[in-house]
């Protein structure tokens, strides 16, 4: 069968070139040669090189990770320092504010005391003046009253006893 296939002279044992055992020796020879060549290429050049590349990459990744870890620790340190500085600054600010407040309070207290004292002096002076004025006024009223009383008594034709009149006026004014 299949004798008219072109180029079938090599495959004359049947229709299947795979079963033409006259070519097996040739294929096996070339196959073994190919496999040996591939084996040497792979084991001498390709595989060690790729293994080295992969190992190197692994190393790089590991060291990069370590470096990243370092940097992270440093960043955390810096953050802690920053936090501390912030807390310090805040405490300082509080202190300054408290100081300023105390100072102001002191000034204020002093000023208040001074003002109070002045006010007290002024009040005392005023009271004194008022008392004087009041006393002056009373005196004037007494005088006017005794004079008036004297005049009235004189005009009525009575004897004018200055002492009795002033005593009577005093009693009236007090009363």
């Amino acid at each position: 069968m299949a004798t008219d296939t072109p180029g079938a002279d090599a495959a004359s044992s049947g229709g299947m070139p795979q079963l033409d055992f006259s070519t097996w020796g040739n294929q096996i020879f070339w196959l073994v040669l190919t496999l040996i060549v591939i084996y040497f290429i792979l084991s001498r050049i390709a595989l060690p090189r790729i293994a080295a590349i992969l190992a190197e990459r692994q190393g790089t990744i590991t060291s990069d990770l370590a470096a990243a870890e370092d940097l992270k620790a440093k960043a955390e340190e810096a953050e802690a320092a920053y936090e501390k500085a912030l807390i310090d600054a805040r405490a300082e600010a509080h202190r300054i504010v408290a100081e300023a407040k105390a100072e102001i309070q002191g000034d204020l207290d002093a000023a208040m005391a001074k003002a109070d004292a002045e006010i007290a002096i002024k009040a005392a002076e005023s009271e004194k003046a008022i008392a004087e004025i009041r006393a002056g006024a009373l005196e004037a009223v007494k005088e006017v009253a005794s004079e008036t009383a004297q005049e009235i008594v004189t005009a009525m034709g009575g004897s004018t006893d200055a002492k009795a009149i002033s005593a009577a006026v005093d009693a009236r004014v007090k009363g």
Binding site: M1, A2, G14, G15, M16, L19
Partner: protein, 74 residues
């Protein structure tokens, strides 16, 4: 006459390919059913899947080979 019989035999042997197809379908289907139940275990079993498929398929290939031999070598 013998040649015709060989062709009929080759056709009958080709049925074996269909049988192998059923086998391969069984393997893959059961793998998928298992993989959907437990997807985390699926990845570790792909090698087993391919080995199973290869074994099932090998017998279909034998049927194909018988067909080829009947067609060309007998």
């Amino acid at each position: 006459m013998e040649g015709e019989l060989a062709h009929i035999g080759a056709g009958l042997a080709a049925i074996g390919s269909g049988a192998a197809a059923i086998g391969v379908g069984n393997v893959a289907g059961n793998y998928l059913a298992g993989a959907l139940r437990n997807p985390s275990a699926a990845a570790s079993q792909t090698a087993t899947l391919f080995i199973g498929i290869a074994f099932a398929e090998a017998l279909g290939i034998f049927a194909f080979l018988v067909a080829l031999l009947l067609m060309f070598a007998v």
